[in-house]
């Protein structure tokens, strides 16, 4: 059985701001168009976060 390692990685608040804005724009657009279901929105937001975090790390 593998043991565990504690590594603390700090949040970059600029990245948080970028993610916030993108999610807000996505949600605003979807409120008007109702193009995506809730499940689809969850997937899109998840993808958005992963992409933004990948850019920085």
């Amino acid at each position: 059985m593998m043991g565990g390692v504690m590594i603390i990685m700090n949040i970059n608040h600029e990245v948080v701001k970028v993610i916030l804005k993108k999610i807000y724009e996505l949600e605003s657009e979807n409120l008007k168009t109702k193009k995506y279901t809730d499940e689809q929105m969850v997937d899109k937001i998840q993808k958005l976060i992963i992409e933004e975090v990948k850019k920085c790390y």
């Binding site: 059985m1 590594i7 990685m9 948080v16 807000y24 969850v42």
Partner: protein, 663 residues
């Protein structure tokens, strides 16, 4: 958004083609359409709803074709119902047309087909283009989402209802604030990020953690998933209990209102119940008195009535006895004793055959036989006993009879009072029964409250347990590099979620506070009194009198007219807030001004309030369109005429035909 015109073809009582052009003048932004009751004012609001959303809130909502036109149709002939709306949205002119064909399929049946909608918009070069069919719903939603429309297309009944403090009105208001003022976006973002373990971004990221080769981690993950499922059950349970509590609270409030509104009746009914109970007690006592009366009468009445006879008998027997007492109280046994002993009681010897001896023999023969004497004594004794027993008969019976009468007249008196009370009561319901129901419901509420607290505590404990397991899982997860990355994504998602929640709370509090200020600003201009409105976190509003402290939750009781004024103040407050742009460092909240379209808005308002409301509405809304009755226009005219640009009158020619005339 600004409405330019509404055109109807054969829509309900609007036979043929009829059009209203609305004022789009910024200075004179009021359009008034006058009409009597049943002339078709409400139909105009429904025309908007039908054209935009395909909904019409009529009882005969499936048949919109003008009846005269329908009657004229021959078999297989067709006629169309059509409503067209011209409007400007984001500086673009749109023409929305909804059409529905009707065909007579037999002598008795005219059948509607499916309605169709088209939207054209004007390009900068003046040409028009059609919106693609699959984009039409989106376009309508962009212009005016249906859930928003109910705050800008107002019928008289809803204006009144919004001023009431019921659950639906509060939910309406809360939703209006969130939708109109941009909070729905935040709400949705938060829900997508963290709304449940299974269907949220954070939940899905957590499930991406790779536990392969790590038994302990796999075990923990399974445990965490099970605990989240249990948490979901707790949440459902909590929601269900809270709904039950809210439902019961509404019922209790309604029932308390009934009692409050019928307080006098309640007191009268309470008195009736108490009197009925008292009557039952009195009847029981009366019955006891009657029973005792009868028992005593049966037992003692003969003795009572025999008294004089017994007295005479006793006297006669005594005198007879005395007559036979040659020597009073000297019995024949005593005489015989003296004869036998040959000695008198004085000591003198009595010789046999002497004079004294002969006299004693004579005395003895004159005495009554012992048996008869004894019987007489017994009889006299009994007679005296009977007399004793019957001695109080008269007093006791008199007393019992008086008691009987007392009970009888008390019962009559109480029954009269009950009848008087019943005559005063107009209310059919048994208020005492309602009061009992309230008490039962309040007991149930207490139990539900206890149950809720228990489940909430269990949920809290489980939640902490999950946190601790997740921390433990995190520790094991970080052995895998991929997991480090996923963990980082989770941290960002959580940070974004917290930030959204913070903004949401801040904005919602700000907006509610602004709404309260705006509503009171407007209310103070509309209402001639000195009250103010307070809105709490659940959008329940309190009407406060000036002498009552702010933290004292005592509702003043609004009249119907005041409810109307409050409704206007709310609607106006929302519309006014929607005109503002609220910005913060990350996000800009954009909203568009909307028109106010109102059907019979002043039905319940008095002259002074009509004047006051009329003064404010054109200042708040970009465009005001009112369908009102002549009698209400009389009061509003003096104030609104300066803002009035267009005026029409609905001329009801028959039940099936109304004509729109420009004034």
């Amino acid at each position: 958004m600004l409405l330019k015109s509404l055109e109807m073809i054969n829509f309900r009582q609007y036979k043929g083609k009829q059009k209203i052009i609305f004022s789009t003048n910024k200075e004179k932004n009021v359009t008034v359409i006058l009409g009597k009751n049943t002339s078709g004012k409400t139909t105009l609001i429904q025309a908007f709803n039908w054209a935009l959303y395909g909904n019409a809130n009529f009882d005969t909502k499936d048949f919109l074709l003008n009846l005269e036109i329908a009657n004229q149709l021959k078999v297989n002939e067709e006629a169309n119902v059509q409503v067209s709306i011209e409007l400007i949205h984001n500086d673009i002119e749109y023409l929305i047309v909804r059409k529905q064909p009707y065909r007579r399929i037999s002598n008795h049946i005219v059948k509607p087909n499916k309605s169709e909608i088209t939207i054209q918009y004007k390009l900068p070069n003046g040409q028009t283009e059609f919106i693609k069919q699959h984009d039409i719903d989106d376009t309508i939603n962009k212009i005016l989402p249906e859930e928003l429309s109910r705050y800008f297309f107002f019928d008289g009944e809803r204006i009144g209802n919004l001023g009431k403090n019921d659950k639906q009105a509060r939910q309406d208001l809360a939703k209006a604030v969130k939708t109109i003022l941009g909070l729905t976006v935040l709400d949705n973002a938060i829900s997508h990020l963290s709304g449940g373990y299974k269907n949220s971004v954070i939940g899905k990221l957590k499930r991406r953690i790779d536990a392969q080769g790590n038994e302990k981690l796999m075990e923990l993950q399974k445990e965490i998933e099970d605990k989240y499922n249990q948490l979901e059950e707790y949440d459902k349970n909590i929601s269900s209990i809270e709904d039950a509590i809210k439902g019961i609270e509404e019922i209790v409030k309604q029932k308390k209102d009934i009692i409050l509104n019928n307080k006098e009746t309640f007191e009268l009914q309470k008195e009736i119940n108490e009197l009925e109970l008292e009557i039952n007690n009195l009847k029981e006592e009366k019955d006891k008195v009657v029973k005792n009366f009868n028992n005593d009468f049966c037992e003692k009445a003969p003795l009572f009535f025999m008294q004089s006879l017994m007295d005479s008998s006793i006297d006669a027997l005594k005198s007879f006895s005395q007559m036979n007492d040659v020597v009073p109280y000297f019995s024949s046994q005593a005489i015989e004793y003296v004869i036998d002993t040959g000695k008198c009681i004085c000591g003198r010897e009595i010789a046999i055959g002497s004079e004294e001896y002969k006299y004693l023999v004579y005395l003895k023969s004159s005495c009554l036989p012992l048996q008869i004497e004894n019987e007489l004594k017994i009889f006299i004794n009994n007679a005296n006993n009977y007399k004793q027993r019957a001695k109080d008969f008269y007093n006791v019976m008199t007393e019992r009879y008086e008691k009987f009468r007392e009970y009888k007249y008390k019962i009559y008196d109480f029954m009269d009072r009950i009848n008087n009370n019943k005559n005063k009561i107009n209310f059919n319901q048994n208020l005492a029964a309602i009061q009992q129901e309230i008490e039962n419901y309040e007991t149930k509420l207490k139990h539900l409250g206890d149950e809720l607290r228990k489940v909430q505590l269990d949920r809290e404990i489980l939640s902490r347990d999950i946190q601790s397991k997740e921390q433990e899982a995190n520790y094991y997860a970080q052995a895998n590099k991929n997991n480090l990355f996923i963990d980082l994504c989770i941290k960002y998602a959580e940070e974004v979620n917290i930030t959204f929640q913070k903004y949401y709370k801040q904005r919602e509090t700000e907006i509610r506070s602004k709404l309260q200020t705006k509503v009171n600003d407007i209310f103070s201009q509309m209402y001639h009194g000195k009250r103010k409105i307070l809105i709490d976190e659940s959008y329940k509003f309190f009407l406060k009198s000036p002498l009552v402290e702010d933290n004292l939750n005592v509702d003043a009781d609004p009249s119907k007219g005041l409810e109307t004024v409050m409704s206007f103040a709310f609607v106006s407050g929302i519309v006014d807030l929607a005109k503002e742009k609220i910005t913060n460092e990350h996000i800009e909240f954009n909203t568009e001004p909307y028109p106010l379209v109102m059907d019979a808005p002043f039905s319940n308002a008095d002259e002074e309030h009509v004047t006051r409301i009329s003064k404010i509405l054109p200042e708040i809304a970009e465009q005001v369109i009112m369908f009102i009755m002549h009698k209400d226009w009389k009061h509003a005219e003096s104030v609104l005429s300066f803002k009035l640009d267009k005026m029409y009158e609905l001329n009801k020619i028959s039940e099936t035909y109304t004509e729109i005339k420009e004034c």
